[in-house]
């Protein structure tokens, strides 16, 4: 699709904001090449889905993310209610997500979709991280390998990873 007429151009707005504040320009990731591709082989109703969210989710008892390029991940049980998930992040308003974590980490809704047979199942663990990492290099060299290892280590074979940014 082309950019929806009314979609907010966050790149342009951030550029203007940084200019007006005298900050050096933020460098957005640009990947104009054709992206890597793995075909989807099963219908949704037979697919095991893994949830990955960059809203900064963690569980009580876990160390919370810090806000300065924390490249760690947290594994959260997928069978817990979303209300058990805490969130921490410096760049979005946390109050609504703390009232209902499903809006950034939709555990309850994905479990609902399993129950109604819309998707086949949910990986037993979901993967949370804090996506506000300003260094693309550190995102690619530290965060991404940790996520790949975690997905690889999941007990289930994953048919689809659903990625939820904020």
């Amino acid at each position: 699709m082309n950019a929806p007429d009314a979609s907010v151009d966050y790149i342009a707005r951030t550029r203007e904001q940084y200019d007006s504040l005298g900050y050096p320009p933020y460098l957005w990731a640009e990947r104009p090449d054709t992206p890597p591709w793995s075909p989807i082989t099963r219908p949704l109703a037979e697919s095991t889905v893994a949830l990955l969210g960059s809203g900064g989710g963690y569980n009580r008892g876990q160390v919370a993310f810090h806000w300065k390029d924390d490249t760690g991940i947290r594994l959260l049980p997928s069978n817990q209610p979303a209300s058990d998930v805490r969130v921490t992040h410096f760049a979005y308003d946390l109050e609504p997500a703390r009232a209902d974590p499903n809006i950034v980490f939709p555990l309850d809704r994905l479990n609902d979709l399993v129950e109604e047979g819309f998707i086949g199942g949910l990986a037993s663990q979901s993967i949370a991280f804090m996506g506000g990492i300003y260094s693309v290099r550190r995102a690619e060299e530290e965060l991404t390998p940790a996520i790949l290892d975690a997905v690889e280590a999941l007990a289930e074979d994953i048919d689809l990873a659903l990625l939820v940014p904020v």
């Binding site: 950019a3 929806p4 009314a6 979609s7 907010v8 966050y10 707005r13 951030t14 904001q17 504040l21 640009e30 990947r31 054709t34 992206p35 890597p36 591709w37 793995s38 989807i40 082989t41 949704l44 990955l52 960059s54 809203g55 008892g61 919370a64 993310f65 810090h66 806000w67 300065k68 805490r86 921490t88 410096f90 760049a91 979005y92 308003d93 946390l94 997500a97 009232a99 209902d100 499903n102 809006i103 950034v104 939709p106 809704r109 994905l110 609902d112 979709l113 819309f118 506000g132 693309v136 690619e140 991404t144 790949l148 994953i158 689809l160 990873a161 659903l162 990625l163 939820v164 940014p165």
Partner: protein, 126 residues
């Protein structure tokens, strides 16, 4: 997030990236993406609105898995509100147009764990 999607796909894991920030996602170019017209911080729906959240995920999943061309972003048609005035104020950072702030709207990036509550900190340090 799009970079994570690309890396997963390169090792054989199909992905679908939900996005409320079309321009950012288009720039980083993940294999499959589904656009929702939502303020930042509400990517997966309205708080406390189960039907809205279910509808959003059903549409994103149905349209997302049907993508055949790598680098496609489909529009789910999901909209935060018929009143689209929030978008005129929205920027990245803490001002999402729904809860407005001005100037540098990010919180300070500190390098110590930022717990949701003091109770969480005590539980983690126990």
């Amino acid at each position: 997030m799009s970079l994570v999607a690309r890396a997963l796909e390169a090792v054989g894991v199909p992905t679908l990236t939900l996005t409320a920030a079309y321009s950012i996602t288009a720039s980083a170019n993940p294999p499959r993406a589904a656009y929702v017209e939502m303020p930042l911080g509400y990517t997966a729906g309205r708080p406390g609105d189960r039907e809205f959240q279910l509808n959003l995920l059903r549409k994103a999943l149905t349209l997302g898995v049907a993508i055949e061309t790598p680098g496609t972003i489909v529009d789910t048609g999901v909209r935060w509100s018929e009143d689209r005035s929030w978008k005129s104020a929205a920027s990245s950072g803490l001002n999402n147009g729904v809860i407005s702030a001005e100037g540098d709207t990010r919180q300070e990036r500190v390098d110590t764990p930022q717990y949701q509550s003091e109770d969480d900190r005590l539980a983690a340090e126990a």
